[in-house]
Amino acid sequence: MIVNYIKIAWRNLKRNKLFSLIHIISLSIGLSAAFVIGMMVYYDFTFDTFHKDGDRIYRIVSHIANSQEVYKNRGVTALLRDAAPEISGIEQTSYFHNWGVATAEAEGHNDIKRNPEGVIYTDSKYFEMFNYEWAVGHSSNILDAPNEVVLSRKRAKEYFPGLKITEIIGKHIVYNDSVTMTVRGIVENLKERTDFIFDEFVSLETARNTDSKNQVFPKDWGNTNSSSQLFIKLNENTPIKTIETQLADLAEKHTAIYFEKFGVKRSFILQPLADLHFNTDYGIFNNSGSEANKDVLLGLSFVALFLLLLGCINFVNLNTAQATSRAKEIGVRKTLGSSRKQLISQFLGETIVLTVMAAVISVILSIWLLGVFADFIPEGLTAGLWLQPQVLLFTVILVLLVAVFSGIYPSLVLSHFKPREVLSKATQLPGGNAGVRKFLTVFQFTIAQVFIIATILVGRQIYFMINKDLGFEAETTAYVVTPWNDAGYSQKEVLFNRINTIPELSLISQGGKPPASLSRSSSLVFVTRGTSEDKLDLEILNSDTSYFDTYGLQLIAGRKPLNDTIREYVINETTIEKFGYKTAENALGKELKMTDGTFPIVGVMKDFNQRSLKTGINPLAITGDIGRGEYTQFRNVHFRLPIEKENLKTAIDKIEKAFNETYPNDHFEIIFNDELVANFYRTEQRISTLLNWATGLSILISCLGLIGLVIHTTERRTKEIGIRKVLGASLTQVNILLCKEFLILVIIAFVIAAPLAYLGFSDWLQGYTYRKKISWWIFAASGIAMALIAAFVMSLRTVSTAMKNPVKSLRTE
């Protein structure tokens, strides 16, 4: 029986090539989207799920709140590490601290490894909490003494190629040319997906002799460092509440003077291990920001769901519309003794055959898609994920679900046919419920229409943000970054002087950050207003005086600072307003009361956007390199680039040469401000790419379905068209007649889609301080576009039908 079903399914596919193609294309698009996105979801949700008792492991993070906002810091003060074991209800604690190492030199090897990643200070408890397997060594008595290091097997192989791992024990590694470490053990790298990507484990005690001393062994509770990570494992059946209470007590008890003075309150928060991979507030353990975003995953899942639905709808619509062509077979089968159930399973079987074919195509497609969407897809996600039993099972279940979902309604309609009706010659055959088909078509076009409108709106917002005048020169400016481990000023001055001689460049200056960037630093200012004294944030940019010209910043009152190191401030207009200075002239000569003294305001400049246009303009001031004695702020050399292409190339080559002469061992990095600004909107641009695809694909699927329905109706109406033409209808009139019933559906879809898109988009726009207005013509245009696309697709078929010779079409009836 099953062979018989499959056979007839296959023959049906072959006989209706066009319709089979439509089905398979629509379903494969939906399925490939579901596969790729399903894998992404699976991938991100299977991080660090393998830890023993992982549901009892929490990270403690810090929230530092002032009157205006809460700063979320993934780290804690290292002193909490020593206090935590006192907390009752905790089974285990584990502390580690990221160490940024500049160089590591393995004994017996001449090449020095630069900036090795994944180096942490920790102790043996770390390996116990996170279930490391030891290749050599044991977690007892290890990393107790200073200058001990444990390596991962991978890193050990890199440092000591050619040595057996047992021979590596006892070897030495010199960090930063100064600290000599002894290898005491080797652990296996964690085999499953994890965010704990560390390879070198340095004993905590070592930190006492390095630059991390103050972070790992701070003197008071005032210090909070995002590199200091504290994990705890609760006892079984310990309510989180009891731990939270004790942490709150600890925070209360150790309210540092600093906190009291600046009016901020710190609290310790428990973050479950399972939340680690998703919470963008805290991030993982580094700044690369590779944590997953649940909202994005949710959005993607919706896109996949919609595309799948659209594919299923095509199947339902075309199959019920085409039902008449199967009617005779159904009638005959019933007289041959087939029960309704058997017929239903026959049709479901056919649907499954078709869906499986679509699935096979989708597997190939999604391997290709993984490449196309590389931007969205985490590096570790490859098609190899399919070999995992859960993913395989998901795939099979999804395919079956899709088959049943698309097959069930048509098979109910089909199997309902009465043999007497379908086998007698004259009766007009029922073709399922045309109302259902219309509803589903409207649904399809609503989705397509929403996607179209959203694409245009998001695209316009991005274009607007990237191209808006930010109040400073971003198009033609760039800067060179000096190496982060060069803390002094002298080399930076050498580099500046070298770049200053390059004739192609103009308006060269030294300074910290560019006017707009993702990083921020600010100082607290005490502002007296009436009787109260407010503590307000003032963002600080450090620069020399020519920085103003380099970036075209305009002074509207006062003057620039007198020299490059003097502590005089030029504030922006927003500061005047927020600090209550009323006018620019009034602000001049006022003093800024800061934690370390009082300093004069000497100038006022026009506002510019110091960050993405999602946020507004904050109080900001420019001052000189005020900390040069200890730590220079002038880390970058800024300049205007030549406009001509050739000059630009020579200029950049010369800059690179100057850099390499100054820092022969370091990596040259030039940052163009326009790219930096565009990068603020990377998420938006990804959304935009995604929307483009979703729009294209949903239009494609919907139009495929539409053309199928049009073919079906025109076939049914051949005779009517013939009669109308004999009665004198023109080609256009016939065409309009044929398209009308579908165009009405497209218009209904538009009427539903427009307000949906409007509401959704306005909601999205709330996240942006600077918004491009939503204009009515976008809706009109996208509605008309959709209608035109639909009309075009329909006319592919209706024109040929309308042109048919009526003599022929009437004769065949």
Partner: protein, 227 residues
């Protein structure tokens, strides 16, 4: 009634009508009929006299409003879909004027289909289908599709398919309506032969000649049996 005669089916006072413009139009009116096993009945009458309707009612393809219908001691007037398909697989074979072969299946597969629904084992199926192909001399055509056959050949396949499951009753609604006279004759001869081997046949026909093959003729006019 003689003891060795077995009643196959019995219709008692069947009324069937449709509403048309507020009026009842009778398709069958007070029709009673007894069919014994082994009979060959021809139902005759002009177009619209209710021949097809009667056959549809007998074949349980169509219902009726009043009356009783017993098929092999089962009352059909309140039969369930499931039981009906069981009756089809067990006892009834249909032959249609328009042949109604399944276009997507080969000759062999068309004949095999009733056996699939009867859940007969593969080896036995093969034997039964081969028998039919032999008997109807269509072995050479077994892998062809219906569209590749002439009308007469298609109807042969149709009859073979109706017979393969060894039904007690063959219902044939104008089985030769689409055939030329030579092909008609072949089919009628075949029916006669089947009937003599014990299969009960009820056919609807316009043709006196075809009707003469049967053992009994029922004349219908406006849904009523005529004298």
């Amino acid at each position: 009634m003689k003891a060795d005669i077995i009643m196959l089916l019995e219709l008692k006072n069947i009324y069937k009508w449709v509403q048309q413009g507020g009026r009842r139009v009778f398709l069958l009116k007070d029709l009673s009929l007894q069919v014994e096993e082994g009979e060959f009945i021809s139902v005759m009458g002009p177009s619209g006299s209710g021949k097809s309707t009667l056959l549809n009612v007998i074949g349980m393809l169509d219902g009726f409003q009043e009356g009783e219908y017993h098929f092999m001691d089962q009352s059909v007037h309140n039969i369930k879909e499931k039981q009906r398909s069981n009756l089809y697989t067990q006892y009834i074979g249909f032959v249609f004027q328009a042949y109604h072969l399944i276009d997507e299946l080969t000759v062999y597969e068309n004949i095999e289909t009733p056996l699939l629904y009867k859940k007969i084992k593969s080896s036995e199926r093969k034997a039964l289908v081969s028998d039919m192909l032999d008997r109807f001399n269509i072995v050479g055509k077994k892998d062809l599709f219906p569209s590749q056959l002439s009308g007469g050949q298609q109807q042969l396949v149709g009859v073979a398919r109706a017979l393969v499951a060894k039904p007690k009753l063959i219902l044939a609604d104008e089985p030769t309506g689409n055939l030329n006279s030579k092909q008609s004759e072949e089919i009628m001869e075949l029916f006669k032969e089947l009937n003599s081997s014990g299969v009960t046949i009820i056919q609807a026909t316009h043709s006196e000649k075809n009707a003469s093959y049967g053992s009994r003729i029922i004349n219908l006019l406006d849904g009523m049996e005529q004298g």
